[in-house]
């Protein structure tokens, strides 16, 4: 299977995050010094500076902090798929935003503050991307 979009370089402290995504698990770092969670993965907590940090499973629920609908793009694999949605998602209880795509919805239904949930999208043998969908009302 050929995949034409840009792929992440997973080397670094974040490799655990990517390997867990491959297994269908979203894991976010938790700081045992300040008891807060933060994204992206680091060796020191950006909230308190603590280093007693561990990955913890997250339910993949959050809300849209901001979004944009790309109508023109120069990005490989994306330029032929306009319009597409790039969003910043604020995961419940997590400091920091996660950039992602919002998929499987009417563009008009997307709004800031909307609840979203993760969908694991296998794109290569090594990489599974965290994509998000709108949480349907009544769920």
């Amino acid at each position: 299977m050929k995949y034409h979009k840009p792929l992440p370089d997973i080397k670094g402290i974040g490799e655990t995050y990517w390997k867990n995504l491959k297994k269908g698990k979203l894991t976010i770092q938790h700081c045992n010094d300040c008891q807060r969670m933060f994204f992206y993965p680091r060796v020191a907590c950006p909230i308190c500076g603590g280093t007693r940090i561990a990955f913890k499973e997250h339910n993949g629920l959050g809300e849209i902090y901001s979004y944009t609908i790309a109508h023109k793009s120069i990005v490989d694999g994306f330029k032929d798929e306009v319009p597409y949605v790039v969003a910043l998602v604020r995961l419940d209880g997590v400091r920091g935003n996660m950039m992602t795509n919002i998929v499987d919805c009417e563009l008009n239904d997307i709004e800031i503050g909307a609840s979203v949930e993760i969908e694991y999208r296998d794109v290569t043998e090594d990489i599974t991307l965290p994509i998000f969908k709108l949480v349907k009302e009544g769920n």
Partner: protein
């Protein structure tokens, strides 16, 4: 007492701008440099402090020294994106203050337009953004604009007004790349790139360079031009990638501006002209708020009804800015060039009356690094 008390800007210049065939980035940087030295009345070979930043050259001050045949005593190639140059002028002033050099040259040049038209970009992709169609830098600015509209009711019309007002200034600047007046509708209806931003919300892609000669106040007094003085300065950063801008509607200009105003001993109401790095229309709204010209969230209202256009209460980007005058990849140094010319009353048709205190503001990355400088045609008393 301030570290800038004994320093003055003695010369400012642009290289050829717009579409410059048969020149490379170093040529433009050097052309602006010799023009700035010539304006000041200083031989370029007297330069003993070199300051630059570049997306074209990995060691820009070394490249420029070789090109000009200079062996400087002091160099600094601060790399904080387009904000580097306002920062470098301050760093150069500190170096002169400390006796590390006497004649400082701050220079920039880029042929990003004739190199192929795209933004020359050395931004490293972050693994947490690159898989999602992130288009640097417009995706980032679109995300901030969308959030600003959501939180404060800022309108599409107000974004357009920034571009319309800036173009009015550009129409009075013969060096501006785009000079024909535009309407709100033309901005709103131009090609939609990434909601809510259209093509006319985005800065130009041009060739160009700029340079500034800085020296001691004593030396400057005996040179060709009316000296321009630095009263205050501040710099900061809140994030590198847009995902990590935790408050998408507040930039580090809130910190850099506070430092600059405190050092200068003035307030936003004292500023006669503001030159703000307008990579996108939303920048102007954000910076006017963060620098304290209006309350947070009031930026869209503040710029309305021609308030920052010719004849408005606060002239902003009187050269036509990055939106209409020139934007060769990194625009920062041009904010100081125009501020100096306004303070020296050299701007002809677009000259702001009684212009004695100016603000220049540089922006780098994706609203990542912010640097503010307050300048005057009088020494700080």
């Amino acid at each position: 007492m301030s570290i800038f008390d004994n320093i003055a800007i003695a010369g400012v210049a642009e290289s050829d701008l717009g579409v410059v065939q048969n020149m490379n980035s170093a040529d433009l940087m050097a052309q602006a440099s010799v023009r700035a030295a010539e304006e000041a009345g200083i031989n370029i070979k007297e330069v003993d402090g070199l300051f630059s930043s570049s997306a074209h050259y990995s060691m820009p001050t070394v490249t420029l020294a070789e090109y000009l045949g200079i062996t400087p005593k002091y160099m600094d190639a601060t790399s904080i994106g387009g904000a580097s140059f306002v920062s470098l002028v301050a760093h150069a002033a500190q170096a002169i203050s400390n006796g590390l050099c006497e004649v400082a040259l701050i220079a920039y040049g880029s042929t990003q337009r004739t190199d192929g038209g795209g933004l020359k970009n050395i931004t490293e992709p972050t693994p947490f953004e690159v898989p999602f169609g992130y288009h640097d830098p417009i995706t980032a600015y679109a995300l901030t604009a969308q959030r600003h509209m959501h939180e404060f009711g800022t309108t599409r019309e107000q974004l357009s007004e920034v571009a319309v007002s800036t173009r009015k200034w550009a129409s009075m600047n013969k060096k501006a790349f785009k000079r024909e007046l535009i309407t709100h509708e033309e901005v709103s209806n131009s090609t939609l790139i990434s909601t809510p931003l259209t093509k006319l919300d985005c800065c130009l892609v041009t060739d160009g360079g700029a340079a500034i000669i800085l020296t001691t106040k004593e030396r400057a007094k005996s040179l060709n031009k009316k000296p321009v003085y630095i009263w205050g300065y501040g710099e900061s950063t809140t994030h590198r990638s847009i995902s990590n801008m935790l408050d998408l509607v507040t930039t580090a200009a809130a910190y850099s501006g506070k430092s600059a105003f405190e050092m200068a001993g003035v307030e936003p109401k004292d500023i006669d002209v503001a030159e703000l790095y307008d990579a996108f229309s939303i920048n102007v709204i954000l910076f006017l708020e963060d620098l304290g010209f209006c309350e947070k969230g009031e930026g869209g209202h503040f710029i309305s009804n021609g308030n920052i256009a010719p004849g408005g209460n606060l002239p902003v980007n009187t050269n036509g800015g990055g939106l209409s005058y020139c934007h060769p990849g990194m625009y920062g140094l041009f904010t100081i060039v125009e501020a100096a010319r306004q303070l020296r009353e050299e701007c002809g048709e677009r000259q702001v009356e009684n212009c004695n205190i100016a603000l220049a503001h540089g922006n780098g990355g994706v609203l990542s690094s912010e640097v503010t400088m307050v300048l005057s045609n009088n020494p700080k008393s």
